[in-house]
């Protein structure tokens, strides 16, 4: 398990059961394309990018993504989600180097 910094944001902050909320997932990741050169050594920097992202809500997969290197540095993935009771939102993402990271956020609808 790697230690990439990541963050899950839910908008609006207070939501009810059954509401559709915006979910943003951010990762601190260099997203190297493999085409960029190091300015000092003039050698190519090897490619390193996020391959797969998976959103799971209470064990049920809601969104999967196949990602290529043309996404920006520190990418953001934003989509919607229907709140369906208390639970956990788990995001798993895999690197091209095989590194797997995880981030969870509690879902607590009010009212």
């Amino acid at each position: 398990m790697g230690k990439r910094k990541s963050l899950i944001k839910i908008k609006p902050k207070k939501y009810k059961d059954g509401e559709i909320v915006k979910v943003s997932f951010m990762v601190m990741h260099p997203m190297e394309t493999g085409m960029r050169k190091d300015k000092k050594t003039k050698k190519l920097i090897p490619a390193l990018y996020i391959n797969n992202v998976k959103f799971e809500y209470n064990g049920k997969v809601i969104t999967t993504m196949k990602v290529w290197e043309s996404l920006s540095v520190n990418p953001v993935f934003t989509t919607y989600m229907k709140v369906n009771g208390k639970g956990k939102l788990k995001v798993t993402f895999t690197d091209s180097s095989g590194e797997v990271n995880e981030k969870t956020k509690k879902i607590k609808p009010k009212g």
């Binding site: 085409m35 050169k37 196949k66 990602v67 996404l71 934003t78 919607y80």
Partner: protein, 156 residues
């Protein structure tokens, strides 16, 4: 006269050496291609499998017309389609038509998403079109594209 000759020759020589390396560099640098390079046509065909693709006003793209920095270009794709069990948006693919690897991201949605929308930030190497290909649950393919002017490329 001799001194003048010498000086002019010296000047020419400096000018030539200054020009030549930059020219040779420009000639030696072909379009850079990464390990996953794939053209736009091939990428679309790989997704659709040869099925017809319809240009639709149902697919809305929100991309800046002029991107000052090609390294960070926000892209938002929204589809006017209900998200019910019987009729939903299955996948959203985003392509940058002139990047080495045109594929940016393939998003597979489910009815649990509630709304068919996806937003991210991509890198663009040059001025080009950003295209979205949407797959519906009934097997139809919709597409939309928008051109983006890039002032500074963001690849490599």
């Amino acid at each position: 006269m001799k001194r003048r000759d010498f000086l002019s020759k010296l000047g020419m020589g400096v000018a030539v050496t200054a020009v030549v390396p930059s020219m040779s560099l420009a000639a030696d640098a072909p379009a850079p291609k990464g390990p996953n390079a794939l053209s736009y046509k091939a990428a679309v065909e790989a997704v659709t499998g040869g099925k017809p693709v319809e240009t639709s006003s149902k697919v809305h793209m929100k991309v800046p017309e002029i991107a000052e920095n090609g390294a960070v270009v926000p892209v938002t794709v929204t589809v006017d389609n209900p998200m019910t069990e019987s009729d939903y948006v299955k996948a959203i693919h985003i392509f940058a038509t002139k990047n080495g690897n045109t594929r940016c991201i393939d998003v597979y949605l489910t009815p649990a998403n509630g709304k068919a929308m996806f937003s991210t930030r991509i890198k663009l190497g040059q001025t080009q079109e950003v295209a979205a290909l949407v797959e519906l649950s009934n097997g139809k393919f919709l597409t939309a594209a928008q051109s983006v002017k890039v002032t500074i490329g963001g690849c490599g």
